[in-house]
């Protein structure tokens, strides 16, 4: 893990040190060169002064002990020298360097008023002065670098404070808090991140809310069948004859079947959350319809209802067999609930406008127009519904059909002789 603060601090510190060193070096050189040129000017001034003196005493009284001045007459005979032991040779005009008693000197020579004048200064002293001046310019810069780094660290820390507060805000959140993160006072660069996090939180909250609602609804939906089971079991012991006991036991079995059916439906609703791992393949609709009819044949026979597959039902859809069978099974199960004994349920598939329409048509009482869409909501039950459904079958169908990229509708047959469930799924042209 890398700390943004540490990285900012490190990179800017390196920049400061490099820039500081470059500045210091430039300053060092500049000041050093300027000092040397100042010292040269000084030599020139002394030379001019020496031109006006007779014996150089004025020059000696200046106290520039390290400076050697020699003056020659026009006859090239030495008139005087401030350092007698140092015999300056008669030099060339201008600046030059000479060795006097094996010590390097910088010498300025000139001819003024018929006199040859030479002014010399030891190079060592010049270097010392130049270095001292340059260091005086260089050192403050070097001291400023760490000061700047510390100031920068504090500034970065202060600027990143909102980010740290944001982190603290996130850390303090409970898993079920609904409000988003506070974006005010945050730098503009961070706000998009906070916005995205808030959007994600909102989506997760909504998903968690749906899940909690589902669990609550499911628990509630289980209450009725469980209450029935409890009572059916309780009344068993009150039976006074074998026949009565058998009748009560049959009722208990029906109660168990109902509870099991409900839990199946709950599972299929819970499972029918979108999952991308299901592979959709080309499936023959007629075969699937045949399979569903086989599955529900015993129940239909018990209720004296005929399940009929329309002969011309060949089409291929993109689906997976688990989903397709669940969809068709739920629709047939519904149709069986509402078709009176002796009735008929017809299943058919047909192609229409590049889609496949699968229809399940019962001979039940149909539905009031206002209920035709509401019945797809989970746990919704039509008031006074005698079918004893859980309110989950059609919700399951709607979920599954949507996952397959299709659409499901209910409509009453025009002559009010039953309900028609119509699924539209994408067609695969074989």
């Amino acid at each position: 893990m890398t700390s943004l603060r540490r990285r900012l601090l490190l990179s800017s510190s390196i920049a400061i040190v490099v820039v500081g060193l470059i500045c210091a070096t430039i300053a060092y050189r500049q000041v050093s060169a300027e000092t040397r040129s100042l010292l040269d000017d000084q030599l020139v001034q002394i030379a001019r002064l020496a031109a006006q003196t007779v014996d150089g005493s004025e020059i000696q009284s200046r106290g520039d002990e390290d400076i050697v001045v020699s003056v020659w007459g026009a006859d090239r005979k030495l008139k005087f020298s401030t350092a007698t032991r140092l015999g300056l040779p008669l030099p060339r005009a201008g600046f030059s360097e000479v060795l006097l008693q094996s010590e390097p000197y910088r010498v300025y020579s000139t001819l003024i008023g018929g006199r040859y004048i030479a002014v010399a200064q030891p190079v060592d002293i010049r270097d010392d002065q130049a270095e001292a001046a340059a260091l005086a310019a260089f050192l403050p810069l070097l001291v400023l670098v760490p000061v700047l780094a510390i100031v920068l660290a504090l500034v970065i820390r202060a600027q990143l404070n909102p980010v740290r507060q944001l982190a603290a805000q996130v850390a303090q959140r409970g898993p079920f808090e609904h409000h988003g993160l506070e974006a005010s006072g945050l730098p503009a660069e961070v706000i998009p991140l906070v916005d995205e996090i808030n959007r994600l939180l909102a989506r997760q909250n909504a998903a968690a809310q749906r899940e909690r609602q589902f669990v609550a609804d499911a628990a509630h939906a289980l209450r009725t069948p469980l209450a029935a089971l409890q009572l059916q079991a309780d009344v068993l012991e009150g039976a006074t004859s074998a026949d009565e006991y058998a009748a009560r036991f049959t009722a208990l079995r029906a109660g168990v079947r109902r509870a099991a059916h409900l839990s199946d439906q709950l599972l299929s609703v819970a499972r029918s959350q979108p999952d991308a791992d299901q592979d959709l393949v080309a499936l023959d609709v007629a075969a699937a319809l045949g399979e569903v009819i086989d599955l529900y044949q015993p129940a239909a026979a018990a209720a004296a209802i005929v399940l009929r597959l329309h002969p011309d039902s060949h089409a291929t859809v993109r689906a997976d067999s688990r989903r397709l069978l669940l969809i068709l099974g739920n629709l047939v199960d519904n149709a069986l609930r509402y078709t009176p004994p002796g009735g008929e349920i017809e299943l058919r598939a047909r192609r229409a406008h590049g889609t496949v329409q699968i229809e399940v048509q019962d001979q039940g009482p149909g539905l009031p127009a206002a209920e035709l869409t509401r019945v797809f909501e989970p746990f919704y039950r039509v008031a006074g519904d005698p079918g004893g459904g859980s309110g989950l079958g059609l919700a399951t169908v709607a979920n599954l059909v949507k996952e397959l990229g299709g659409d499901v509708r209910l409509r009453n047959r025009l002559d009010r002789s039953g309900l028609l469930a119509c699924i539209t799924l994408p067609l695969i042209v074989a």
């Binding site: 209450r223 209450a227 029935a228 409890q230 009572l231 029906a254 109660g255 006074g384």
Partner: protein, 222 residues
């Protein structure tokens, strides 16, 4: 005691009818709020207690209860519902329900609550019904005379209970019929006399007094 069950779930309703009939109660069952109101208004005086489901088709159970209490009916109401939130329970009780039972529940608890309600309704503190000679225990469903336990059928027990709940009060044949038979039962015209005959043989003929043409009452003194 005659009970009206208002319950839309076929399995729960059927089991309640069975369980309470076993107990000797006269039980009638309707499946929606409209039928419940009709039954309670038309046959107002026949029922002693209503088992009221709240989530009913047509007319919600709370509506039924509100109408009932607004009409000044003081019949015992025991709500049986899958709605278990505190708000639901408080609303139900505040609307005038006498008790509240959340599904799923055990039959034994329902029966105990019905007995408790009946007892309170009659202004009794003791769970047992007593005369100078007989003791009837509604919970244990037994009748004791002089430390001897008397075996009664469920109907006989219900009949004796009806008489002992109103000590000294004359009850007509119709009143007794309505307390021990539900609508669905075809009652022979002399069924009550027949039951009373059997009952007298078991508990002692002197314990039930007959006022010809008016009815019967339990003898309270010795």
């Amino acid at each position: 005691m005659r009970i009206l069950i208002v319950e839309d779930d076929a399995m729960i309703g059927a089991s309640l009818v069975r369980g309470l009939t076993d107990e000797g109660y006269a039980v009638d069952w309707v499946r929606d709020g409209g039928q419940a109101e009709a039954a309670l208004i038309d046959r107002h005086h026949e029922f002693h207690l209503v088992l009221l489901d709240l989530g009913l088709p047509q007319r919600d159970g709370t509506e039924v209860l509100r109408h009932l209490r607004a009409a000044g009916d003081n019949i015992l109401v025991l709500i049986i519902t899958a709605r278990d939130s505190l708000a639901d329970r408080i609303e139900g009780l505040d609307l005038g329900a006498d008790d509240f039972l959340v599904k799923p529940f055990e039959l034994t608890e329902l029966k105990a609550r019905i007995r408790a309600l009946a007892r309170r309704h009659a202004g009794r503190i003791e769970p047992q019904l007593k005369t100078a000679v007989l003791t009837l225990d509604p919970a244990a469903r037994c009748v004791v005379r002089a430390d001897r336990r008397i075996q009664l059928t469920a109907r006989e027990f219900a009949l004796l209970e009806a008489l002992m709940q109103r000590p000294g009060v004359l009850l007509s044949r119709t009143q007794l019929e309505s307390r021990i038979y539900s609508w669905s039962e075809a009652v022979e015209s002399n069924a009550v006399e027949f039951l009373l005959h059997g009952l007298r043989q078991k508990i002692g003929a002197d314990q039930i007094e007959n006022v010809r043409g008016v009815g019967w009452r339990i003898v309270t003194g010795s």
